[in-house]
Symmetry: D2
Subunit: 388 residues, 4 copies
């Protein structure tokens, strides 16, 4: 029986690997070892550790390694401390494989500890292209990893082009889609159709409406490299929507640089236009968000969820601007610029059509099982070599 | 003026970067910041820190980060501690570029600290193919580095194929060749021709001989992946040489796994064959070794020096076995298997010819100046992107 | 010229050592080296680092060492990291003395780094008796320290009884009193007498009043070991005050365990009794607090400020309960139990008298100068020995 | 059942706590948790970890924390790393008590981790007076410890004078004496009387002799604070012995500063005086040493073994100079100065008498059992308070 060690360092990590953990636990050929650390243990990042335990996963080890300060220097120091702690943990767990999830800074600590200690690494969600230091971290992890589980075909191709052995690269799809697939077994309208409860529970501003009627959704985040332009961008979107005045759920932007510009744009628009068709929410749980995507007539903005989960759900998406430029798209996506006219055109086009067929370019809901199956069998050598 | 920070973590690092340090120091556009650490500070690894100071380079910071134990676990922990220390150092030095030399485990610490702190990285000797964990480390550093200084054309091509921006990859040659070029300005025979002193000083076993007369050299190291076969391998070499009975300097193997097999092979052969033509040395200083390469009639074995420095020096080399299989060769190298006949044939062939033309496939002696010149001008963005 | 290194790890540290820093800087025999770290650098603890710089002190080094998590385990890890960082810093600063202030957990890191590196330690505020782990830390630092600067006679005697060399123990008074003495050069009424501004600026609840008229102050903190009883305790105090209905400034409790009980007690009392004579403030700057102490007719509660700074200021104090049981008192303090009657009696007694004479049992305002003077001269051996 | 955690960081630690470990393991009220680290894991310090395992103790955790470099700075950094590692270990083991042995630098790491994590500390061998940084460490540990197990009455009194609660200080004797008592159940002459084997096995220089005949022993170590005078000191001792020319076993000095002076003194004396009665040994196992002490007619020098184990064994001791000045003595010790005459007089006096009665001032051989018994019952509060 192979020991498969998963490290979870953040809330996002958990939803990206949960279906894998379940599959590893259930597979008779594999045994799950679980380690939690970094921001997964911290209250102010939602302490996903508690949620993990509630789901029945008991961590073998947990360690705090975040050096407070929120600066590039402390990010480096947290990583250094993470290597030291993880070395101790691996010394005790002696796994056959360590699964490294994605590309956050603390994942480099896990990677170094495992690689230096001759423990084989399986990497999920490698080969993608994004920005920030995550871009470098992701590809560096690829160069340490023995087995690759990219989430789509482009990513797979990129990993192979980087010199990885093709037979060790498996396009299994994104494990996050597994959770979507499971959630979609429920009836979305029914799920949301404690309608009044929904608006009550998640404390939106702007009154209630009936989910059986048409509604739109907006999820538009700041683009850090376009700092200063984000307010104009959200206003263009809202102006397009005000031509339609269909009920619209708008989600608060995440907290990257530029977030205040977007937030201010939304707030001012609501007040100035007295827009009673606009219903704003600070945040929504993942399952609620999935059912909204499954029900809305069009999702507008620049969230990756439209591209990735949206492909599987088949939700019509108007994707605005540059934020998702490096991602593969299914046919559910219309790309437009930050122009009121283009946005309006995109929405109108979608409203004429029905929803889209399910696309599996980001996975078909079986990633967890496939990963656990492969890790139960595969035997890559510890010594890697670039193929060219 | 740009601040260029060099980290030296071992004796080998220093000879790989010394000419660059000198050039950075002399270039009016660049300022040298020097940090020493890891085994560069430790007595049992030759404490190269003292030598560096004697050469007139004063470290801005020095830090101990080697956790004693010599195991994979402590290698990881030393790296973690190195990240923490280097973060502190970079916080104070605030360099424009950090030069990361090669691929030893501690270099990952320097790389992470710099990359996470948004300091641009220049990497020397990337793109090569070897073994051990160094192989993964080297390519991972490439994925973090902003400017690449590979030592040869193959390495340059490999870096570009890995998705690095071509305009940031400079084949400047190996800075170690700069030191060779400088050393070769002296007369080798004269340098060695305090002959008796030479044998006296370096305490060889096997009596003296005259360097104006023909002599051979053997530098054959264990191949860790061929553990158990190393004694037979060195015996094949010595048997070939005993056909010739020309004066031969044999150097002790380095301390990788299998070293004892090679050492025992040499010792037993000398005793059994009463081989007075065999002159064994524990170790020789770099300058002496260069002049010997410049004088010997043939270098036999599997040392990288025959391939790399040897190309520039033009020394006839019989390269045995698999240890150098991934390296580019100039015409001075004859490759043979571990077979007494093949080895003997190779040597005989070389002895008939004269020495070879200087080849610059591993550099022409100007790497230091070129690196300092480029770093004084180049402006790569901090945010990297894979090119495909 | 002697190098005197001060480490500041928290907001409280700074007010406890500021006058010493100034004196060391001005003394021609001593040179100030400043290091900041721990919570002194963190936003959520008020980032005193900024204040320090505004006051003209430039840190030689700053380092983050707080491992986030707020648990006993992370407190230990933060200390471990602090030792590592401080070792690096001391390696560079090479001071003659390190001043260790008080007894917070991070001070042990500074102490160990200095002691192990053969750097002499001067300890302020040792020899006192309190609770929590600070009690053990304080006395352990005493056993590492070479020079002791206790803040009062009792503390001095205790240090000597612990086996420290008497000639190395100097009762110089508390450096915090130096700041009080300086502040009191101003006219307190005038300072506060932008009356309306005061109430405006510090956002009290409960309306304004005139500082020339009589008023009381309450500063009552939870006692962690009496958890569960803290609400009853504050209510007893407020009930006593409601007999008098004199204007009263009540300060919010600090955030130790039990804080919520006290806060709830105050809030409920205000609402239930419609107590317009009660003016509650979240927090006040130190200088404002000093002038209030210098003006109020009576300070009621269990804050150490009444006992320590209060002795120097001569403010009438009714000290309630056990929290200050181990501290020396001047004649300005009446000790009472948590009983409405006793508290009321205490206040009434004080209101009949005028204010008290300045007492110097906690210092006369010259601690900073005396410490700097002594450190400029004293020569304790690095090797300590217990005296018995 | 109480969990008692023992940390072993060096070879010396193990012999100081082995009998306690055995007793804790056998006591039904206590459970042994074992952690090894620091130099206990390192080859060049004898890797006592292997011996521990051979004795049937399986460590729950082992961690490397020694930062190589052998300097005061690395001593501090090793301690910092030790705190971090030990925090992780204690988080997992959750012991009721941690036993801290003696006063070496790494013990401070264990102490801080345990104290900060609210785990009660039992300290052995506190209250003694020696030199170096150990002196400060020992007393600082005392200020953190909840239960004290000093090895003799003087040490107990000192701990109480330092302000520790008398009822928590137990003079149980030194656990090292337990091992002596057990060893002495064997017949010493018989044990040594594979005479020729003895000389053969431990590779002494100077020929063999019969252990039934009279013989002397010399164990004289350098005094670091008397650096420069150590050669003269050993020569005085050897000159005294050369008056007697009785067979004498001389042991090599330990490796403190000044060791070379002593070693050179011995070597030169042997050569110059052709002293065939002098038998020099590099080192001897503990059990052999105990039987030699139990057989020799006089032990000469400045080793603590003469004072401590010697008291129990009753061996006549001539103790020279200042090195043991702070230790309690039984009647077996004659103190002399570094004078040939005084030393000779001391030996002669002893040779006239028989051996001495067993003294239990350093323990009666039951320390282990008593410590385990006390830890099974005692309940000190986690919150300490100095008693005065």
């Amino acid at each position: 029986m192979r020991r498969i060690c998963v490290f979870i360092g953040s809330r996002a990590n958990y939803s990206s690997i949960k279906s894998v953990m379940r599959a590893v636990k259930e597979n008779p050929d594999t045994e799950l070892q679980l380690v939690t650390g970094a921001s997964a243990l911290l209250e102010r990042f939602g302490k996903v550790d508690d949620l993990i335990k509630n789901d029945g996963f008991i961590p073998d080890y947990s360690f705090h390694n975040i050096v407070e300060g929120g600066s590039p220097t402390t990010m480096a120091k947290s990583t250094g401390l993470g290597v030291i702690e993880m070395a101790m943990v691996l010394d005790n767990l002696k796994p056959d494989f360590v699964i490294v999830v994605g590309d956050r800074f603390e994942m480099m600590a896990i990677t170094i500890a495992a690689a230096y200690m001759n423990i084989r690494i399986a990497h999920t969600m490698g080969g993608e292209v994004t920005g920030t230091i995550d871009e470098s971290i992701r590809h560096a992890i690829t160069k340490f990893a023995h087995i690759h589980f990219p989430a789509n075909r482009d990513a797979r191709d990129r990993i192979i082009r980087m010199g990885e052995e093709e037979s060790h690269v498996f396009n299994v799809g994104c494990p996050r889609i597994d959770l979507v697939a499971e959630e979609l077994k429920k009836d979305s309208i029914e799920f949301l159709n404690n309608g009044s409860k929904f608006f009550d529970k998640y404390k939106g501003v702007g009154g209630t409406f009936d989910f059986e009627k048409p509604f739109l959704m907006v999820s538009q985040h700041p683009v850090t490299t376009e700092f200063g332009d984000n307010r104009r961008q959200i206003e263009n979107t809202l102006n397009a929507l005000s031509e339609l005045k269909i009920n619209t759920i708008v989600l608060w932007p995440n907290i990257d640089a530029g977030s205040d510009e977007v937030a201010k744009g939304i707030r001012t628009f609501r007040e100035k236009h007295n827009a009673d068709w606009l219903h704003a929410f600070i945040s929504l749980p993942t399952d609620v968000y999935i059912h909204l995507m499954n029900t809305t007539d069009c999702l507008i903005g620049n969230s990756s969820s439209g591209i990735r989960e949206g492909a599987f759900i088949g939700v019509p998406v108007v994707n605005i601007g540059t934020r998702q430029k490096f991602r593969m798209r299914a046919e559910n996506v219309i790309d437009v610029d930050h122009s009121t006219t283009e946005i309006l055109d995109g929405i109108t086009k979608h409203l004429k059509n029905s929803r889209y067929e399910r696309s599996t370019i980001y996975g078909d809901g079986t990633a967890g099982e496939r990963i656990s199956g492969i890790l139960g069998e595969v035997n890559p050598p510890v010594q890697k070599h670039i193929v060219y």
